[in-house]
């Protein structure tokens, strides 16, 4: 016999606060992600007068061979870069994880250097090395660096750390027992490599492939600087919107860019789920044994990569200091004066301010959001929706998000119109653009907390929000710092997200670098790009010092 259905429990204060926050997050995501994308889509189905024309614009697009060609260009450079990066990255990750080479820590740091520089830095350096007046121009055998070759080389440089991070994680999870079993069965080293190492890293390799593909496919900065006449989707969008004021076609190309990116993202999510289930058993950590030939070969390989990284960085810096490349190689600081109006030091300070805001507010918003999704007890459906939306930004190319923001926030009757062309829209755009990765690392950290902390706290009559500050936040502090620095560095280096959104008062360093290059001041562009590298280094250094200090004070319980 069943009595009357029970009413839900009277909500206590913690539940009420949690629920209000969930609705706020939904509203924010709606305003700053869903609606702008919707505006973009509707724009793609309108004519210049704003009348709905269905798929008319897409027909025009398909009929224009020049535009359509860019699609294949994008696919081509993304495909080739992906193959190269996955191979190079795997070998490097293998050297770091599965061999006994010396200087592993150094090599790891070196491999992450490209993360601190804007993607255009590599393109600029390549211009100095292989451009029309480049040092090694002859090495290209008459081919021009301006085009697919340059795009691929620069893309390989800046996506390398992304590939390496995923690959070395997946290799670090390899199970020592499998190696021992393989040894016991008298398998050769090579056979072990193909039957144990590669299958173990399978999902890591798949995931890397998708991630790198999306990065290159949707990148704007590199093809803009070094693409020459070789058009890709991202530069087409820019040209249609900024050059020809054809917003509808910009929206159409954005969607053409968005669809493959979404597809790759979905496949990546799928393969990650498979990997998670593979890792449930408890593996024993693999400790490599020395093997002279292998270790020496891979040490040479790592040294080679290191030299290449420094050559890129060094050439960009050298180019920025040279008086008049290549005729007068004496050094000067005059390129740091940035004589082109509006693109000077102001833009650098703007960038620093913007990055600090994005990192500060972004970290707070993202961490609290992840906590709500992971730990709130009620409103499961709403939290699932939030989680789904939080994953979306990863699949949305920065240039598409930027364009969507113009369409949405520039509408006259939008009450949020006031943020258009301000610092606020740059900060919000940056937080949304880099939301997913930070969100996922916050979720991972929060998942590690005992699932009963909230129950214990409630049973002891302590509201959840008090526990959040007393326990959750202190325990997750290392992750919080990581999110901060991730957001800061990305905000400093991003181009594609903000290229449409800055105003005369809010130019950014990375955008300035592109415009300086556009106006022929390559040395100025290099100088600006290097400034970004230095500030990223500096902030990372401060981050390390502060976090070590704070770690000692707040994480004492960890290392006892």
């Amino acid at each position: 016999m069943l009595g009357l259905k029970s009413k839900p429990l009277a909500a206590d204060k913690s539940d009420k606060i949690g629920r209000v926050l969930v609705f706020i997050y939904l509203a924010l995501f709606f305003c700053f992600l869903v609606l702008p994308l919707f505006a973009l889509m509707s724009k793609s189905m309108q004519n210049a007068e704003g009348v709905f024309v269905g798929l008319e614009n897409f027909k025009v697009y398909l009929k224009d061979p020049a535009l359509f060609k860019s699609f294949f260009h994008s696919l081509f450079v993304a495909f080739v870069s992906t193959v190269i990066v996955v191979c190079l990255g795997f070998l490097y990750a293998f050297a770091l994880q599965c061999t006994c080479i010396p200087l592993k820590g150094f090599f790891r740091v070196v491999s992450l250097i490209p993360l601190l520089s804007p993607s255009i830095l590599a393109a600029i350096a390549l211009v100095y090395w292989f451009g029309n007046q480049g040092v090694f121009k002859e090495l290209l055998l008459g081919n021009s660096i301006y085009g697919p070759i340059g795009i691929i080389m620069a893309s390989v440089y800046w996506t390398f750390p992304h590939a390496l991070m995923i690959l070395s994680t997946s290799l670090s999870l390899s199970d020592a027992r499998l190696y021992e079993a393989s040894d016991a069965l008298k398998a050769s080293k090579l056979r072990t490599f193909f039957t144990v190492t590669i299958p173990g890293a399978k999902y890591g390799i798949i995931s890397t492939t998708f991630v790198v593909f999306i990065l290159v496919f949707t990148d704007f900065g590199v093809p803009k600087v070094i693409g020459g006449n070789y058009n890709v989707l991202a530069t087409d969008i820019y040209r249609e919107v900024v050059g020809m004021q054809n917003f509808q076609m910009g929206a159409v190309i954005s969607i053409v860019l968005l669809v493959p990116a979404l597809l790759a993202f979905a496949l990546d999510q799928f393969s990650r789920k498979r990997q998670a289930s593979q890792l449930t058993s408890r593996a024993v950590v693999y400790v490599p044994k020395p093997h002279k030939l292998r270790d020496n070969l891979l040490l040479c390989y790592c040294l080679l990569i290191t030299v290449l990284v420094f050559l890129m960085l060094g050439m960009a810096q050298f180019g920025a200091l040279v008086k008049f490349w290549p005729y007068n190689l004496s050094l000067t600081l005059k390129h740091y004066n940035f004589e082109v109006a509006g693109l000077g030091w102001d833009s650098f300070y703007n960038s620093v301010r913007m990055s600090l805001y994005a990192a500060f507010f972004g970290t707070i918003i993202i961490f609290i959001g992840s906590y709500l999704i992971e730990k709130m007890r009620s409103d499961k459906t709403l939290r699932d929706v939030l989680q789904m939306i939080a994953l979306m930004p990863m699949a949305i190319p920065g240039i598409v998000l930027g364009l969507a923001y113009i369409f949405f926030f520039n509408m006259k009757d939008n009450p949020l119109n006031f943020i258009y062309a301000t610092m606020i829209i740059l900060v919000i755009n940056t937080i949304v653009h880099f939301y997913t990765v930070s969100h996922l690392s916050a979720i991972t950290a929060i998942k590690k907390l005992d699932s009963e902390f909230e129950s214990v706290s409630l049973s002891l009559k302590v509201p959840i929000y008090k526990m959040f500050f007393r326990v959750t936040l202190p325990v997750c502090l290392p992750t919080v710092f990581d999110i901060f620095i991730y957001l800061f560095c990305n905000a400093m280096t991003t181009v594609s997200g903000v290229i449409f959104l800055y105003s005369y008062d809010t130019t950014l360093a990375s955008v300035s670098s592109i415009h300086l290059d556009e106006q022929g001041d390559v040395a100025g562009a290099a100088a600006m790009a290097m400034l970004i590298v230095y500030i990223s280094f500096l902030v990372r250094g401060i981050h390390t010092i502060v976090s070590t200090f704070l770690m000692k004070r707040t994480q004492a319980w960890r290392n006892i």
Partner: protein, 358 residues
């Protein structure tokens, strides 16, 4: 009706997870000061029932009354209980002292009172020297004791224990369960413990509620439940039992195979197919085989320290082996070995009889 001496009453409680019925019309009464165990296999609903009492899950139907007050609509933070989880759930960044005082600070206690109370509790659980240590510096058993101290710090009137010993080593588990029992004796706190370990429940509880598939299968004292299991599930879950099929001849005689056995009144009509449940220690072996006793071939012998466990292949249990436990003391002939044919009989006073459902 709520019994006059009932401290906690659960009335007609049901809980759905989607379409899955986790609790099916459960009603229980617990007296003040009792130590009660919810016992059952995983997925039987015991933890769900505990979490409903704590307000950590919301029941779909039914009411819960604690101390004459209906609490089933109150949020967790307004109910009167302390809870200890299997995972300890100690806050890793707070010292033992801070963990125990965590709730007290929020209640607005005076600093001096807090220190006094925490020291008192540390003394109670025998960890006075560990006040300043972090949880990760303690062993599992010590951490669980801190968790217990934290749960009872604000003197709640009900203590809930959710598989508190399951994460511990076997020896620590036995030790801590004796300690739990002695805390209970000293504090007189009404306590509910959830466990899947029948030995733990038997050794510690005043009363046990055996659960299966969201229902209470039987409740009573440990002795009662063990000796007079009211259905085959309980008989099988608590301890070990041999089930032998038979047919009722009359009030006190059941026919098994071609032989008859005596048993105490069972209340089934003549001709009913029944299951006779015999505990391994209630079966007597003999080397002599006469016409009136059953016989079987020894298939395996396990030495388990204080007793021998003998597996017999016998015609009265065609699909399974009959299990017999023999203490390693007394006059028993130890020369029993695999392949021997032995006789056995069941002690009439120790048998339970259940209707055999097809």
């Amino acid at each position: 009706m709520v019994k006059a001496d009932s401290y906690l009453s659960v009335k007609n409680l049901s809980k759905f997870f989607g379409k899955f019925l986790a609790l099916d019309d459960v009603s229980i009464d617990i007296s003040a000061g009792e130590f009660v165990c919810f016992l059952g296999p995983s997925g039987c609903g015991k933890t769900t029932l505990l979490r409903c009492i704590a307000g950590l899950e919301v029941q779909s139907f039914g009411t819960i009354i604690q101390n004459s007050e209906i609490i089933s609509g109150l949020p967790t933070s307004q109910r009167d209980f302390g809870i200890v989880f299997q995972s300890y759930a100690l806050f890793p960044n707070l010292s033992c002292f801070q963990n125990i005082s965590y709730g007290l600070e929020n209640l607005g206690w005076d600093k001096k009172d807090i220190t006094k109370r925490v020291e008192e509790l540390l003394l109670l659980v025998g960890l006075s020297d560990h006040s300043a240590k972090y949880p990760s510096q303690l062993s599992g058993g010590e951490q669980q004791r801190i968790a217990l101290a934290r749960a009872i710090a604000a003197s709640p009137n009900l203590l809930l224990l959710d598989e508190p010993l399951s994460a511990l080593d076997a020896k620590v588990r036995v030790h801590l369960r004796q300690e739990l029992k002695s805390f209970h004796r000293r504090l007189g706190l009404t306590t509910i413990m959830v466990t899947h370990d029948q030995e733990e429940a038997l050794s510690i509880a005043d009363r046990i509620f055996v659960m299966d598939r969201g229902k209470i299968m039987q409740f009573g004292t440990p002795e009662d439940i063990y000796a007079n299991s009211s259905n085959p599930f309980v008989a099988n879950f608590i301890g070990m039992t041999n089930f032998i099929e038979g047919k009722v001849l009359n009030e006190k005689v059941i026919k098994i195979d071609d032989k008859q056995i005596d048993c105490i009144g069972h209340g089934f009509a003549k001709g009913t197919k029944v299951l006779v449940a015999a505990r391994p220690e209630c079966i007597q072996l003999s080397k002599k085989i006469t016409k009136n006793i059953f016989n079987g071939k020894v298939a395996d012998v396990e030495f388990l320290g204080s007793f021998l466990r003998i597996y017999l292949e016998t015609s009265i249990m065609p699909n399974q082996r009959l299990i017999v436990d023999k203490p390693m003391v007394g006059d028993f002939d130890k020369s029993i070995s695999v392949g021997d044919v032995v006789g056995f009989k069941m002690l009439p006073t120790h048998l339970n009889v259940y209707e055999c459902d097809e």
